[in-house]
């Protein structure tokens, strides 16, 4: 420890700073896109559980168990090394040559694989939180709203789902933060996100302590911003025991 020479400019200036900022950008993009994909898939998984046809529910349950009980690392390696080469050759070449969709450049195939893996993995956790939210809505709510002449979908849309989401939102915010905290795994398939860039700085000038401390602060700040944003975007918290506010 005594030979260590602290120099913060080794991280916060010149080339290392460029790397660091680039890493922050990639991490944020990766997190946001994975969160969006995960939310979409979680809603589909939740819907499958409420389809009257039983096997649909079993499919969703099995899918969720599969993704929750295997490590994200293995899932990412599976998609990258196992599944990506199975795509049709034309599509694969298009992905390898800097893909363009509707005139917009798409992220690299590594980045797309990372978003896909992170999204699928996180969806399984989000779906469970959503389901717990639906189950937390008292059955009397359902009976009441049906007795008022609402049919199934309007009842879900206007009464049950808003309450379910309010119940589920706090654990869901935690899951979205987990997406951020799991995003460094993308470095294992060579996505140049924040963790990757931090290691690059460490091997560039050996100022590991400054690099890791900076990355820690940046991750904490991004996490703080994300949770503030999500709390503001999300539904207002329910009053205790799910009793709607006001009479």
């Amino acid at each position: 420890m005594k030979h260590y020479h602290f120099d913060w400019s080794a991280v916060w200036s010149g080339q290392p700073l460029t790397w660091l900022l680039h890493g922050v950008g990639v991490t944020m993009l990766l997190t946001v896109l994975s969160c969006l994909l995960a939310s979409l898939l979680a809603v589909i998984l939740l819907a499958l559980r409420f389809v009257p046809w039983r096997p649909a529910g079993w499919l969703a349950a099995g899918w969720i168990q599969l993704f929750r009980n295997t490590p994200l690392t293995v899932q990412m390696l599976f998609w990258y090394f196992g599944a990506l080469p199975l795509l049709p050759e034309g599509l694969r070449n298009a992905l390898a040559n800097g893909p363009i969709l509707l005139g917009l450049p798409l992220p690299s195939s590594e980045m797309l694989t990372a978003i896909w893996s992170l999204g699928l993995f996180s969806a399984a956790f989000l779906a469970e939180d959503l389901r717990a939210g639906v189950r937390a809505v008292p059955f009397g709510q359902w009976e009441t709203v049906r007795s008022q002449g609402f049919s199934t979908w309007p009842a879900l849309r206007h009464v049950i789902l808003p309450q379910a989401l309010a119940h589920a939102w706090p654990p869901m915010v935690n899951q979205y933060l987990n997406v951020l905290k799991n995003s460094p795994l993308a470095m294992s398939i060579a996505v140049a996100e924040l963790m990757y860039q931090t290691n690059q700085i460490e091997s560039f000038n050996f100022h590991g302590i400054e690099a890791y401390a900076s990355a820690s602060v940046l991750y904490l700040l991004i996490g703080l911003a994300l949770s503030q944003l999500l709390q503001r975007l999300g539904p207002a918290p329910l009053h205790d025991k799910g009793v709607p506010h006001g009479r």
């Binding site: 929750r68 390696l77 460094p184």
Partner: protein, 236 residues
Amino acid sequence: MAVERFHFQVIIDNAHYLLVGNLAQGQIGGVLLTLLIALSSGLLALIIGFVLALLCRFFPRRLAPALGTLGELVRGIPLLLLIFWLYFLLPMLLGRGAPDTISVIAALALFNAFSVMLTILSGLAALPPGQNEAAMASGFTHWQRLRWVLLPQALSHILPSLVNLFVALIKDTSLAFVVSVPELTLVSSQINNREQIYPLEIFLTAGAIYFALCSSLTWAAHQLENRLARRQLSIV
């Protein structure tokens, strides 16, 4: 690319390496190392977490807020970053090279110690206040109340949560892959690099092994939860 047929032979050929790594050369690896890392860091986390929870209870003003903040910081950064921190710092602090496996075990133990601490504290907080008050009225000291009244009840309530933490820990051992510790994930990826054409078979097998380990423990936690719920009903 053999998509039509699952090529079992590659798994059979590499089964020994997947399970124990280069054990004959004295290098533990594969599933055995995964279990070793999970068990040792799990045990460490349990002990440290328990001590931290006790410290929070005995020094609620002086230590609890500091430990709470420290826990937020440790659990607020990615686990992989924590592994890199220790991977970098441990050799500096010890003054000599520390094996990579030790850095990973230390990081997993530290991360989970704070999770254990929070779980125990919330287990204690969930007990009805009458328990503590009755023990106090019976003349128990602070330590005696915890030891004989509060902890036995809280621990039986939080047992399923602790098993779930251990399931997450087993999955997190796969992060050791990134710092080249030859546990199941790294060994699988080494086999994949050597064989080149069977990535599906290899990573599906690795996934199936993790799935068997984790889902059996998840199932056990669920059974435990049901049994505790039934016991509670029979008491009431």
